[in-house]
Amino acid sequence: AQSVTQLDSQVPVFEEAPVELRCNYSSSVSVYLFWYVQYPNQGLQLLLKYLSGSTLVKSINGFEAEFNKSQTSFHLRKPSVHISDTAEYFCAVSDPGNTGFQKLVFGTGTRLLVSP
C-alpha cells in the first residue's frame, strides 16, 4: 500500500524567505501526486498536482513542486513566502489503478508559519 511521509510537522519561516516542504512517498510503478492546502478555518484546496508530463508543476500563487521518481519525492517550494501563506499543507498520492479509481493517501501535514 502507498504511504506518504511529511517529515516536518511545522516549518517556521520569516516573510520573504524561501521555503521547502518535504514529501516522500513509497515506491510504485506510477503515481499521481498532489499538494493540498488548508487555510485556517477553511477546507482543503488543491494547490497543484502532477499527473504526467513535465516533472515541475506550478501553482498560481508562486508555489512549485518537482516530481523526482528516483528519490520518490515531491517537495513543495516557494522562493519568497508571504504572511498569507500561513496554512497547513498536505501531500497526497494515489495509484491510477486498474479500475481508474484513485484513493488518496495523505501525509500527516506540515504547518507553515510565516512571521513578519
Partner: protein
C-alpha cells in the same frame, strides 16, 4: 459553480449519541468520497461512492458508521453510537473525472465528549 457543501460545520455530542453528517457534492459529480482526520494524524480515506453505489468502503472503521447516497446526489454519514475516538474532522469530496483531483468541502468537526 457551487462547491462541495458540508453541514453541520461543527457538532458536539455525548458518547453514545447518534450524529448524521451531510455532504452535497458539486452538481454532476458522480464520484463522492468521505475522509476523516483524527487530531494530529493523517487524513484517511473512508469510502467512495459512484453515483448511489458504494465503490469502495474499505476505510470505514467499523459497523457504527453507515454511509448512504440517496439517488446519487447528497450523501450522509451516520455514526451510531458515537465513541470518543470518533472525534475528528470529516471531509467530503467529489470529482467528475478520475485523476483530476478532488474538490473538498470545508469539513465537519465532530467532537464526542
Amino acid at each position: 459553480e457551487a462547491g462541495v457543501t458540508q453541514f453541520p460545520s461543527h457538532s458536539v455530542i455525548e458518547k453514545g449519541q447518534t450524529v448524521t453528517l451531510r455532504c452535497d457534492p458539486i452538481s454532476g459529480h458522480d464520484n463522492l468520497y468521505w475522509y476523516r482526520r483524527v487530531m494530529g494524524k493523517e487524513i484517511k480515506f473512508l469510502l467512495h461512492f459512484v453515483k448511489e453505489s458504494k465503490q469502495d468502503e474499505s476505510g470505514m472503521p467499523n459497523n457504527r458508521f453507515l454511509a448512504e447516497r440517496t439517488g446519487g446526489t447528497y450523501s450522509t454519514l451516520k455514526v451510531q453510537p458515537a465513541e470518543l475516538e470518533d472525534s475528528g474532522v470529516y471531509f467530503c469530496a467529489s470529482s467528475q473525472e478520475r485523476g483530476s483531483g478532488y474538490t473538498f468541502g470545508s469539513g465537519t468537526r465532530l467532537t464526542v465528549v
